[in-house]
Symmetry: C2
Amino acid sequence: MGFTKHLPLHIQIKIKLEEEILNEVYDEKIPGELDLMERFSVSRSTIRQAIAALVEEGILEKRHGKGTFISLKPVEEWLGSFSTYENIIDDMGMKPYIKFLSMEMTSTPQNVAKTLEEEVFYKVKRIRYADENPVSIEENYYPLELGKKLAKFNWDNVASYSLLDSLGVKLWDAKQIITCRMPVKEECKLLNIDETIPVLFIERLNFDREGNIVEYEHSVYRSDHYAFIVKLGRNEN
Amino acid sequence: MGFTKHLPLHIQIKIKLEEEILNEVYDEKIPGELDLMERFSVSRSTIRQAIAALVEEGILEKRHGKGTFISLKPVEEWLGSFSTYENIIDDMGMKPYIKFLSMEMTSTPQNVAKTLEEEVFYKVKRIRYADENPVSIEENYYPLELGKKLAKFNWDNVASYSLLDSLGVKLWDAKQIITCRMPVKEECKLLNIDETIPVLFIERLNFDREGNIVEYEHSVYRSDHYAFIVKLGRNEN
DNA sequence: CAGTGGTCTAGACCACGAA
DNA sequence: TCGTGGTCTAGACCACTGG
């Protein structure tokens, strides 16, 4: 392996396994600890230490008596754990739906322009409903190359990250800004609200594992019936 | 120890250590692994496993060559990692200040009433400034008993959790709701804003380790100059 | 039963930090 | 140099899962 500095074995093994997992070398389950011991010619604790790190990162998941399985929590769960968009009025039974409005090329949004040099982005505009009631206007922006591929999909009622996922693009980090303002006329019309009701304005930059911007989201939520609920905990929850 | 079921040794040790840490048996540093091995009559890996769990929970912190130290991240850092309140207009140099306005007993706020049976709460009202400009109106509510103790402090320019901390109350979990609305007259006056500018409205319930409500926060932020910035990551960041 | 992960031991040597 | 945590080994037995 060239001149690998002098990383501890368990780290090297962890990296190797992680790489293989992300390259989909394994289907669902990684080899047992005995196999890995042989393969890497190390003791069991070293293997276990490597695996423990991956478990902690949410990449692997152990099942006693069965084996160690690839986890890679779906992004839905991950993002969901942060910004659960919930209805204050407690009408749980409502059906969510996202309707495609338009797709076009546009100039790079401000927020992205600071970081990237590209001048043109793909923009997808959609409206999110709860039953028949419009909830938000969502615009997703993508770099040209990625956008071209995404343009081939049907964007009705799908999560953007599931489309990204099918292209092999995984979201990893995100940065989000939350503020509010008064709606413009078009937003009032689309959301079916009065001009006197403010809207929550959310921007989110999504990054992949290497820190590249893969998606910029720009959303406007009506504030009269909805709010963001955030759970905070020191550990998992 | 009575009839301890049959918990693994490292779990028992972890619990024991955790208990001692929370009871402030140690000052800053826990005994070395050798000492603990002797004390519990177990092997080093068992001790290390117990400690690893506590490190993962953010309760301990290892320093190579020095020892294992009690961490218990200050709440500031913990809460701060979530909702960093930042100025969009990028005036970094501003000085934050929180001015005490009033303290009184009041009926239990709605949000708390759902969970608790108490009928009266202490309410502390303050205004947060950036330099000379008002940023938000913050109201903190406390259960009677706790409120009585807190009433003795000077509430100018201190974080509520630092006062709680000095009473031995540690925050552990939180639940937060973010939405927006138009300001009422009093809020316009206090925040020095026009009636046409919406405000961000944040409610937060803070819980201790046992899940008791220890604080309810109710804040109104002006939206014209400020926004919430949230960083999301799968692991630590 | 066989296979897998879970727990635990005893002992070795390394790497860092402070005196 | 000494004490601390970091890495690693070899081997043992237990507990869960599935055929």
